[in-house]
């Protein structure tokens, strides 16, 4: 039996970040990971020799540069490379090429609709303005709105000041924005179907909502408020795949003295006299510690690795009802060559961005209808990227791999449990859709990994395969995340904390949840804070 200051459950990127900052403060930390690899959903795996998939998350923009810089992740081998813009494929032959150059992008929009080309400038300006306030709250612990503690009052005051500073018109807009659907929000800007579809697609990614569902408007903002080197809305690839992010954070954590144990799944969090005191591993080993930090999602934490009787009234039920519906699948495809897409210029930049097979708002909504009925759509929404077009380290020379994020895919099927045959059929729906836009695509396939929400849950432990560790709807955001009254990383059991995306500010490879949780823990343990302040670009 060993004794630690802190146990962090789950070596996802937030757990590793949390461990790094705790270890930096001098704590004796161990990270326990159930799998034989680290990274959770920020992982790179070689399932076919020579091809390195980012199996789950595949691009990033929320990664806080303050943390990247503070942990010196560049020295630990991390380099984030922004990729060029995305091509949107319409239902038919229509294409919207998101040229990298702003002037060229404008002319391309103008080709589809002169009105929308102008409106795009207004949308981008508005989104940047809306995202400013939220970006400022990312690396801050949300206040408890009902508390009278000075720090909560101060934080509420800070927030109120920022909010009022927006001005009357903007405050109304904000409230609208948080509650409306992505499609309705965009109706105010655009007339062209493909442009609307292209812009609405970030509103549904990772979410069991449709483009017409209230609340999808905020998800849209969540996806465009990230940045790469201050270029807001830009997306980047990690050289070496998303696992490079976890690996570099792990390396930083180990340099500070943290220990990382793989194949060490936690069976149960030990609670004595109302205080967390350690864990029991699946193999029966017991490890004790002063505090326990769970990087698992809220539902898994409170319903799977804690004893119901150790929890205060109501928490088990809250956790059980935590909204964490799986909605997406992931299909990773190793290719013998670069796919060519119809209706696209054949040039060196065409495939160096993403491909979004969004079709139209109608198509996306129909795909959502399938999800509601407990099946996948045969005309799915797919967001793709070919990382190997950019990154020389992830596929053999001249060969490629394509990451396909597919929506929607239900965690439970209406016609019984997921089977390998059904999984293959789901994968087939993806291939046949891509083949529609890339004749001969099928012949390039060398290997394929199809992941349904069911697989994602089983492999990396995200309940229902929800990529955000809980949906990003207003009832589960900010001081309500994961539950009202527990928005400050401290959990209902003393000495127990959460540091995953189930906490503020939610999903995305940002490393923020882990860092914010570390700051709160260090405060409780009366240790000096090691977590940097955000150094976002002034806005």
């Amino acid at each position: 039996m060993s004794n630690y200051d802190a146990i962090v459950i789950g070596a996802g990127h937030n757990g590793l970040t949390n461990a790094a900052y705790l270890a930096k403060a001098g704590l004796n930390v161990v990270v326990l990971e159930k799998n034989d690899y680290i990274g959770g959903a920020a992982v790179t795996r070689e399932l076919q020799e020579g091809w390195h998939y980012s199996n789950c998350s595949y691009v990033c923009s929320m990664m806080r540069q303050a943390i990247h810089r503070d942990l010196d992740l560049a020295r630990h081998g991390l380099i984030l490379v922004p990729y060029l813009s995305t091509v949107n494929f319409g239902d038919g032959d229509e294409r919207l090429i998101g040229y990298h150059d702003a002037e060229a992008a404008h002319l391309e929009l103008k080709r589809l609709s002169p009105h929308d080309a102008d409106a795009m400038h207004r949308l981008e300006t508005d989104l940047t303005r809306y995202s400013q306030l939220i970006r400022k709250t990312l690396m801050r612990t949300p206040p408890e709105p009902t508390s009278f503690r000075p720090r909560d009052l101060m934080e509420m005051l800070w927030l109120a000041r920022k909010f009022w500073a927006l001005g009357e018109k903007e405050i109304y807009e904000y409230v609208r924005f948080f509650t409306m659907s992505a499609a309705e929000f965009l109706e105010d800007y655009f007339e062209h179907d493909l442009i609307k579809a292209a812009m609405a697609s970030p509103g549904i990614i990772g979410t069991a909502l449709g483009v017409y569902s209230p609340g999808s408007s905020y998800i849209l903002l969540h996806h465009v408020m990230g940045d790469v080197d201050g270029s807001i809305g830009a997306w980047g690839l990690a050289r070496g795949g998303m696992g490079a992010i976890s690996k570099s954070i792990a390396s930083a954590a180990q340099e500070f003295g943290a220990e990382i144990r793989t194949e060490a799944g936690v069976q149960q969090v030990l609670v004595k006299n109302g205080k967390a005191s350690g864990v029991v591993l699946e193999n029966g080993d017991e490890i004790t510690s002063r505090i326990v930090v769970s990087n698992l999602d809220a539902k898994r934490t409170f319903t799977r690795i804690m004893d119901k009787n150790d929890l205060p009234d109501g928490i088990y039920k809250r956790a059980k009802n935590f909204k964490i519906r799986g909605s997406s699948g992931k299909v990773n495809i190793a290719l013998s060559g670069m796919p060519k897409f119809t209706g696209l210029p054949d040039n060196r930049y065409a495939n160096r961005g993403g491909q979004t097979f969004s079709g139209s708002l109608e198509t996306m909504e129909r795909a959502y209808d399938c999800w509601k009925r407990g099946t996948w759509s045969d005309d799915p929404f797919i967001e793709s990227v070919i990382p190997s077009a950019w990154d020389p380290t992830v596929a053999p020379v001249g060969k490629h791999w394509m990451s396909n994020f597919v929506q929607y895919c239900p965690p439970k099927l209406a016609d019984g449990p997921w089977t390998p045959e059904k999984r293959d059929a789901f994968g087939e729906s993806v291939i046949s859709k891509i083949e529609r836009y890339s004749p001969g695509f099928r012949d390039l396939i060398v290997h394929m990994e199809v992941r349904t929400p069911h697989d994602i849950e089983n492999e990396i432990g995200l309940t229902e395969g929800n990529i955000f560790q809980g949906e990003l709807t207003i009832d589960q955001l900010f001081f309500n995340r994961p539950f009202p009254g527990y928005g400050q990383y401290r959990m209902p059991v003393k000495n127990m904390y959460m540091c995953g995306s189930s906490t503020h500010p939610g999903g995305g490879v940002s490393a923020v949840c882990g860092a914010n949780a570390a700051r709160e823990i260090l405060m409780d343990l009366r240790k000096p804070n090691t977590v940097p302040e955000d150094d976002f670009y002034d806005e």
């Binding site: 810089r69 560049a74 380099i79 984030l80 050289r239 950019w390 020379v397 001249g398």
Partner: protein
């Protein structure tokens, strides 16, 4: 009837790679260097920067000045001109050098290639013919030939550069150590490849008779296609060289021969290039003045700064008090946000006596036509900002 361009005399000259470069310069973003048209960027400066750090890129260095220095006295002549000991340069090796006026003020920097015991190539940013003539006075057997227009030169920089050259068929290129020169037969001529560059990364420079320039480009690009090859321009060059903490004329130093106010030029010691000054060798231009300077200590010292926040400290003054009220103790020469290092980096000339003070940069920036300023703490760095192990590894990995 042929029409002649009435403006031909005033138009920028075209480099040997122009026929290919122009196809790929989608933005039509050109500048002029030594009279030659050369690219500011081809597609996007930052994209090209990332190619250099992530895959590989080519930079057209045809406009760089190249001189062949030949003869029995070539070595002695160069040795009297530059501050480094040219005798110590091995055969088929390259050395980075600076040369100074008698007052020890820096005229320019460049590289010397030792191609035979009596044959060298000198490259530098600005024309140097007149100074080379002066430097040759008193030597009987030395001839200086400007070969800038005869040799086409292309830098290939980035982690996949060695793999690209191997694919191109340059067998054994992976055994070249930094500053080595190798020769390869190329369509009846010789392709010279040096493991040199201006990006601080793994990289090479390719030297070819200009008649074969386009042929070489095509073969290089065919080989590099699967290694992410992309031309890059001045924007990316300036970003990468700053991360490597390399100096640029008209940024870090003002060429001595072009300096009106004699306090405005620099000595190698001020530029933290004291390691290039060899007092153990025979007399060289500026020796006495530099010896004195070494004894006295330089007035300014070029310093690498890591600056808090993320506003590039372009053209900032440096103070030793946070309120920035007293007299400034230095000035920033180059600054940028480094996407690879994730740091706000700068080179600055700091008064040597204040090097160990707390340093603060007063940074001005504009947002939607409004001016803002902030004061940011500076931390001195001893090593270049970007020093990947692959830049020194022999043989280098494929990426």
């Amino acid at each position: 009837m042929t029409t002649t361009d009435p403006y031909a005399g005033e138009r920028p000259k075209l480099t040997a790679f122009y026929p290919r470069a122009k196809e790929l310069n989608i933005r039509d973003a050109w500048q002029v260097w030594n009279g030659y048209k050369f690219a500011e960027c081809y597609y996007d400066g930052e994209y090209e920067y990332f190619c250099v750090r992530n895959t590989c890129g080519t930079y057209d260095i045809c406009p760089m000045q190249k001189y062949e220095i030949k003869g029995r006295n070539a070595e002695a002549m160069l040795n009297r001109m530059v501050t480094r000991d040219v005798k110590k340069i091995g055969l088929n090796r390259v050395a980075y050098c600076v040369w100074c006026t008698d007052e020890g003020r820096m005229i320019d920097d460049g590289t010397i290639f030792k191609l035979a015991n009596d044959r060298f190539m000198l490259t530098c940013g600005s024309p140097c013919t007149a100074w080379l003539r002066k430097a040759s006075f008193g030597f009987d057997d030395v001839t200086v030939t400007d070969v800038t227009d005869d040799i086409a030169a292309l830098a290939l920089q980035g982690p996949t550069s060695c793999a690209t050259l191997k694919k191109m068929g340059l067998g054994g290129i992976d055994t070249a150590k930094p500053f080595d020169i190798k020769f390869f037969p190329f369509h009846g001529e010789t392709l010279m490849v040096s493991r040199t560059g201006f990006t601080g990364d793994l990289g090479y420079e390719l030297w070819i008779p200009k008649e074969l320039a386009v042929q070489m480009w095509d073969e290089l690009y065919a080989a590099g296609e699967d290694y992410g090859i992309q031309p890059f321009g001045e924007t990316a060059t300036n970003m990468t060289r700053l991360e490597a903490a390399f100096i640029m004329p008209a940024m870090e130093f003002n060429e001595a021969l072009l300096t009106v106010n004699l306090n405005h030029d620099q000595t190698p010691f001020e530029l933290s290039l004291g390691w290039l000054v060899d007092f153990d060798k025979p007399h060289f231009s500026g020796r006495a003045a530099l010896l004195e300077e070494k004894k006295r200590g330089p007035k300014y010292t070029l310093t690498k700064l890591d600056i808090e926040g993320n506003k590039p400290a372009e053209e900032s003054y440096i103070y030793n008090d946070k309120r920035c009220k007293g007299k400034e103790v230095g000035y920033v020469t180059s600054a940028m946000w480094s996407p690879a290092v994730k740091a706000n980096i700068a080179l600055a000339m700091i008064k040597t006596e204040h090097l160990n003070d707390d340093l603060w940069a007063e940074i001005y920036y504009a947002k939607e036509l409004r001016q803002y300023s902030r004061v940011a703490k500076c931390t001195r760095k001893t090593k270049p900002f970007w020093t990947p192990p692959r830049a020194r590894a022999t043989p280098p990995a494929d990426y």
